[in-house]
Symmetry: C2
Subunit: 309 residues, 2 copies
């Protein structure tokens, strides 16, 4: 077993480091709380050494590739967004670079942007790499990446051709803790799948009748009428927002007939999205685990970072 | 000029008291910060006396009628909601009562609820009274009441037949101060009417493409692309949410051709909603000032609180 790549999935709140072998398997893995908004003393270099300084010391010639917010304006090195369409070759051809104190280079994947004439632009950093850990070069699919800012990414013939962001996770967090709805719910309750499905139905339907701004208030009125218990209310709200996301993406043509829908998230959230798609009359499949690591490996290979390989 | 009624518009954050004459004109007006969630020492009675104790002392026989959250579970006396349809006679026939320490009665208007089979219920308290200050008994109109929780109230032949609440104002507050969007905006900036209109367009259109959860993120990406300045971003966000409200209400059939749209709000917010309706291809008209006082007068008259009158 030969180590081949140090792969870093470096976001806002966490730094995940993977030591990958020559067939892209994870040899070792680190998970540090050192996201770019939460760096230790010593900043980016200290966070990097804490996560994988020992790997670098043991094999100083290993290439190093990072993706995520580490390439943003607030990151270690700002890498301009790659405009859509973005395929593997395109991403591999415009890596950013950070010179490390041992003289080696840390490469950084650009994000991807979309700025179509007359429309609102959109951006991602990190998700494009996860996408390339989940789809092959000839694939057609829509990749759903649930999260604070969920992404729906359209891939055609292996290239990212368009995508959209939804503030689902952040809205859930704010509404369940800071809004008047917080009073109606016990957020420590176990997940309630029936309430979640009811929420999804309201969220998907809400899109054609009054919309999500109205149905958010429904969380309160259902509670006032005793039809939603405090323990079920947070699952209902979660379903409502995921339903609004699925409904919106559907209206925008992101789920058209025949499109494979691949969900990339942790097992629990992936399960919820599969369920929500099912309620909406759609069908999703889970993506592979460690998609970021797999995507970093493929981009590194395409960029020729493995030398003779 | 004879005083005829003490009318109280008593909500969550404020208590507005009106002394009305025998043709419903405002003789005197008080505006206290004693909403039901912000009572002074001594509670409801102390707030009441602070607002209009002198009026009661001067004319102890004047009838007193209140509307708003004062009739809620957390209010001075819980008055059960009147189920839709609710006309003036119906509201006048089920007033709640609070016995005051001088032996007189303070009457309280019920709210209105909607609980159609198979749908999410909805509720209001106070807005029904404002509505009856704006429409006559044979009127057909949709009354729009912008606010923390905006209401769109359908009136047919003078009766409230249906309505919907939108969490527009609360969502604006949370998104502009607590979300990632807060970083992109200077909320102290003057209102920017062009950015507001752009937001309305995105909000109305967003309803048929991805929806508001997506377009909220657009506030961030537009800022990243330098197409939205910090001083314009809060007006854009406001427009986006009002646009999503107008778009949702339109889809739900609340603005169908020929429906008069009457906006009941303070002059500034009414102006914004007129503008938003215009961007959406609709046409609104401002309602009368002091609609709550006028509505309380009409309900009091119908309830026979003026004795021989």
């Amino acid at each position: 077993m030969t180590s081949q790549l140090i792969a870093l999935d470096w976001g806002t709140s966490r730094l995940r480091a993977y030591l990958l072998d020559d067939v892209s398997r994870v040899v070792e893995e680190r998970n540090e709380p050192f996201g770019i908004m939460n760096l230790p003393e010593g900043g980016f270099a200290a966070a990097f050494h804490s996560a994988c300084g020992d790997w670098v010391a043991a094999e100083p010639d290993l290439p190093i590739l990072a993706s995520g917010m580490v390439g943003s304006r607030l990151g270690w090195a700002e890498v301009p967004y790659h405009e859509c369409p973005a395929d593997l070759a395109g991403l591999a051809s415009q890596l950013g670079e950070v010179e490390l104190d041992n003289g080696r280079t840390l490469y950084v994947v650009s994000g991807v942007s979309m700025d179509p004439e007359g429309q609102v632009p959109d951006v991602m950093r990190g998700e494009e790499t996860q996408v390339y850990g989940a789809v092959g070069e000839a694939d057609n699919a829509t990749i759903v990446l649930p999260g604070t800012h969920s992404k729906w990414v359209r891939v055609e013939n292996g290239a990212i051709t368009s995508f959209a962001t939804f503030m689902t996770g952040e809205l859930y967090e704010l509404m369940s803790t800071q809004s008047i709805l917080a009073k109606t719910m016990d957020v420590t309750s176990a997940f309630d799948p029936v309430a979640f499905d009811d929420g999804v139905s309201a969220g998907v339907d809400g899109f054609v009748a009054d919309g999500v701004l109205h149905h958010l208030f429904g969380v309160r009125s259902l509670s006032l009428f005793g039809r939603l218990t405090p323990s079920a209310a947070s699952s209902y709200l979660s379903g409502l927002l995921v339903g609004a996301e699925v409904g919106g993406a559907t209206r925008a043509g992101r789920t058209e007939s025949g499109t494979r829908l691949i969900i990339l998230g942790d097992p629990e959230i992936t399960e919820r999205y599969m369920d929500a798609l099912d309620v909406a009359g759609l069908s999703g499949e889970p993506g592979p685990p460690n998609a970021a690591a797999a995507g970093l490996y493929r981009i590194a290979a395409r960029a020729g970072l493995f030398g003779g390989n």
